[in-house]
Structure formats: structure tokens, C-alpha cells
Amino acid sequence: MSRSAPVRSIEFHPFNLSALRVVLDRADPAGLADELHKMLGGRPDRFSGEAAILDFSALETLPARIDWNGLTSLLRRYCLQPVGVYAVDEEHAAAARNKASLALFEHLDATPVSAPAPRASATTVSPFSLAAPDSASPPQADLPFEPSAAAPLVAGASVAPTLYIDRPVRSGQQVYAHGGDLVLLAGVSPGAEVIADGNIHCFGPLLGRALAGARGNAQARVISTHFSPELVSIAGVYRTFEQGVPEAFAARAVVVRMKSANGSGQTISIDPLQLD
């Protein structure tokens, strides 16, 4: 081994954790289980063991008791590893530590958590959003949040290569572009799921589930030439189409992006694209 062995049998070094911030809008595991299932299509392999910090800053008031075991086992089921909590009072922090071995994080040096999601639009705004703290985010995540900025950056371009898929993504299949963009050249069938940490560009019918900015990049977009998905999501804010995709953009070319609705949380906007 090239590394020199430590002098003592145990040493302590400061270490900056890279973790996912799981921003919760509610604290009951049952309700969150349902939301997560909708959001991730029940796929247990969506994450790959990333450390997770449960962020309660979006909750106006914390319930008197939080089911810490329930929360941690729910997140573990989706292959996340809860390690800590953020924005809880001392009493809750003690319970989190005793019941679920979660550490209290006093401050997270990441972009501030969005304001609480409006309760009224619970179907379009996720009670989860997955935000990566500084160390894990691409540099442009530090820009002030402004989705229609004059010089939009291609998120992820400098982070990971683009993943190109030449054949249709079929029902039951999942494609995940880790760290970068996803370009789909033959459409996405109903029941299929396509995910990118960056943008998703889909040529051909988009009929399945499309999740861009999967690790919290709110600047990511979904661009589609034939838009009729089951679900779209930008940085964890999602929209489903149980009643069908609205006439205005069904089967048309659109761009989906995050829209800040000043102070009242985040929603996503879907706008037709003029191609000719």
C-alpha cells in the first residue's frame, strides 16, 4: 500500500459530507410513502445508497411526535441512507438521535430551501425535493434562482457526458443519465421511466415518466417533440396527468422548466415550442 498507515489505531479528521438534502413538506411516513411511490413509480432502485439529510425547514410547524423509524426505513427502501436531520428543535433532535441514530446538522451551506409549498396544489408540487448541498452541485447551482435567465447554462455539460439512447425506451425499462443530460432519439413508451441529473431531450413520443434535474438541479429542463407523458418532474417538483395532458400541448413540442412563484413555492411550467 502506498498510503502510510495511521500512527494511532483511530484518528479523527474533519470531513465535508456530500449528501442529498431531502426537503420534506410533511413528516408522516405513510403520506410520504404514497408521494414517493407516485414520484418514483415505486422503483426501489432509484437511488444508490447516497447519504441523506432530512430537512424540515419547509414545514411551518413540526408535529409533536415524528416517527423516525418509519421515515428512515422508508428512505432506505429507496436506497437512501439517512444520516442526519436539519431544522428541528432540540427535543426532536434528541429523539432522532436516540431512535434512528441521526445527527443534527446545525446549518447546511447550500442554496436556501425554497419556501413551503402551497398546500392547495399538492398534486403539482412535491412534498419532497431533492437538493444537493454545495459540494455535490454543479457550479451553476449557485447562481441566483432565475429560470429564464438571459444566458441559460446547460446544466451538467461540464460534469458528465451526455447519455444517448437510440432505441425506444419500453414499458418497465428505466434509463438514468447520472450527472448529465439524456438524449432520447426514439421516444419513451408508457410505463417507462427516463431520468437525468441534467436535462432530458426527447425526440419522438414521450409517453412515460420523465424526471430531469433528479438531484436537485432546478435549472434542468425537459424538452420534448411529442409531449404526452405520465409524469414530468424538474428537481423533484412533479406534475402528473391523470386527467390527460391538456389540449394546449398534448402531442406537441414543449419545454418544461421550473418556475418560481415568488414566495409561494415552486411549480413547473410547460410551454409549447415553436418548431417551424
Partner: protein, 272 residues
């Protein structure tokens, strides 16, 4: 030798009917063909082929080295060309007896015996039997009925073909996919009860090999143990004959896809 799987995901769409007709059609064109039943536990290819009373050994016996492949192959009596053989499945065995190495062995033996085509009749579902049937496929006939659930399952099986076939796993040229619509009723399509073949094709985005009309003669043929392609003059036989020709590279227009309202005279005579 080319290995062709007839598959669907959904049950009861016409895979076995198609396997029997297609394999017979290839044999009639002069190709030495084997049709293999992968539906261990249900076993009905031999009934459709009308050879159930001649089954002594089956594919599991061959895999377990209890019989030689030549002993288990049953020569078809309907094709005058005498180059079609049926390899039946077992009704009683455990499905897991159908192992990947066993299937590979059977297929390589067939190749050594000079077969041109091996047609694999897949069971329904996406479980072990269906995966075994498609693992070694060079081409796949995705058998689909004009209804949403069948289309969805076909899409699913296309995904599995892309992930579990040998060709996918070793990165060689992907399995060639063909769409076959079966039990197509132009009347019900016209009435909006079923989806059009064009819509199905658009949803699945693979080339269309043929459209087989819904017909009562299919049931009659299977009751008699005669592959439908032998029903001279019937729509179904012609549609399967066309499909075989297209498979072999001929360009033929689609037939039996438009609904003709019964004319005045026909109505007078009480035609349907």
C-alpha cells in the same frame, strides 16, 4: 439457422396459433423448420399441430439427457414437404427444468441437424419460460391484439428482449423485431371498440409483418389439430401465407384490414 421467438407478454393473443401457422408456412416454402413449445406445464402446441397422440418425449427429456433430440422431434403430417418437426413441452415437469444451457444445447443440436429455422412458441408473461424462449432469438414476432393492454404488454416484452436476449447481453446486432397483429376485426376497429393497426404500429414503433383477421375458422382448425395456414381459401390462411412471404422479404400489400359493409344483395340473402 435462425431462431425466431413468437412472444407477446399477454396471454391468449394467438402465439401458439401463429407459431404453428408460421412454422408450417416456412416449411411449405422449403425450409427445414422446427417449432418448439416453451410453455412447460400447459403444453398445447402439440394439440394445435395435431400430434398430441404421438408425444413420447419432450424438450425436458432432451435437456435432462433422458432422450435424444431425434427421438423427441415429431415429424409433422400436414406439410407434404416433410421438413417440419415439432418439439413438444412437458405437461408435468417443473418449469425450472428448462435451463438456459439446456435450451442452448437443443438449439445447437438443431443447427447441427441442418435446420434452417427454429420457431419458439413462448408462454405468456415475462417469467422464466418467456425469458428462456427469447434468450437465443435472432428475430422476434411480437404478437399483439388491437387492444391497449396487449399493446402495453408487447412494449414490455420488447424491453425484455432488449435487456435479456443473448444478442443484447453480448452487444451484437439487436434482435430483429416484427409486429404481428392477430385477432384483428376491421368491423370492431371501425366501431371504435379496438384500435387500428396503424395506431398499434405507431405505439410500438416496429415494422409490421402482417395482420391476421379474427375468424371462427381458427377455433375449428385447432379443434381438428390442423395449423390454420392449411385452411385453403380462408382469410386466416391467406393472411398467414402473406406474413410468411413478407418475412422472407417479399413486399405485399396488407389485406383484411378494411371493413366492407354487407351489400344489399348479401343482406337480402341473409349474409352477415
Amino acid at each position: 439457422m435462425r431462431v425466431i421467438v413468437v412472444t407477446s407478454g399477454k396471454g391468449g393473443v394467438g402465439k401458439t396459433t401463429t407459431s404453428a401457422a408460421f412454422a408450417s408456412g416456412l416449411a411449405m416454402r422449403g425450409f427445414k423448420t422446427a417449432v418448439i413449445d416453451f410453455d412447460v406445464g400447459l403444453r398445447n402446441l402439440d394439440l394445435i399441430m395435431g400430434c398430441e397422440r404421438r408425444v413420447v418425449y419432450d424438450i425436458i427429456n432432451v435437456i435432462n439427457d433422458e432422450a435424444k433430440l431425434t427421438q423427441a422431434l415429431i415429424k409433422d403430417k400436414h406439410c407434404e414437404s416433410e421438413n417440419l418437426y415439432v418439439l413438444p413441452a412437458s405437461q408435468t415437469r417443473d418449469k425450472n427444468a428448462l435451463t438456459e444451457s439446456g435450451v442452448e444445447f437443443v438449439l445447437s443440436e438443431l443447427e447441427h441437424m441442418g435446420f434452417d429455422y427454429a420457431v419458439c412458441d413462448s408462454p405468456a408473461g415475462i417469467e422464466h419460460g418467456a425469458v428462456m424462449a427469447l434468450t437465443f432469438a435472432d428475430e422476434a414476432i411480437i404478437t399483439t391484439n388491437p387492444e391497449v393492454s396487449s399493446v402495453r404488454d408487447s412494449d414490455r416484452i420488447l424491453g425484455i428482449l432488449q435487456s435479456k436476449s443473448r444478442r443484447a447481453l453480448n452487444g451484437s446486432e439487436p434482435v430483429k423485431e416484427h409486429l404481428l397483429l392477430t385477432r384483428y376485426s376491421p368491423k370492431r376497429v371501425e366501431e371504435g371498440e379496438m384500435i387500428t393497426y396503424k395506431d398499434v404500429q405507431e405505439l410500438l414503433r416496429i415494422p409490421l409483418l402482417g395482420v391476421i383477421p379474427e375468424s371462427e375458422s381458427v377455433l375449428q382448425a385447432s379443434n381438428q389439430g390442423i395449423p390454420t395456414i392449411h385452411l385453403k381459401g380462408s382469410d386466416v390462411a391467406e393472411a398467414y401465407t402473406d406474413m410468411v412471404a413478407r418475412f422472407l422479404g417479399e413486399k405485399l400489400p396488407l389485406r383484411f384490414v378494411t371493413y366492407e359493409k354487407p351489400g344489399f344483395i348479401k343482406r337480402l340473402l341473409g349474409g352477415k
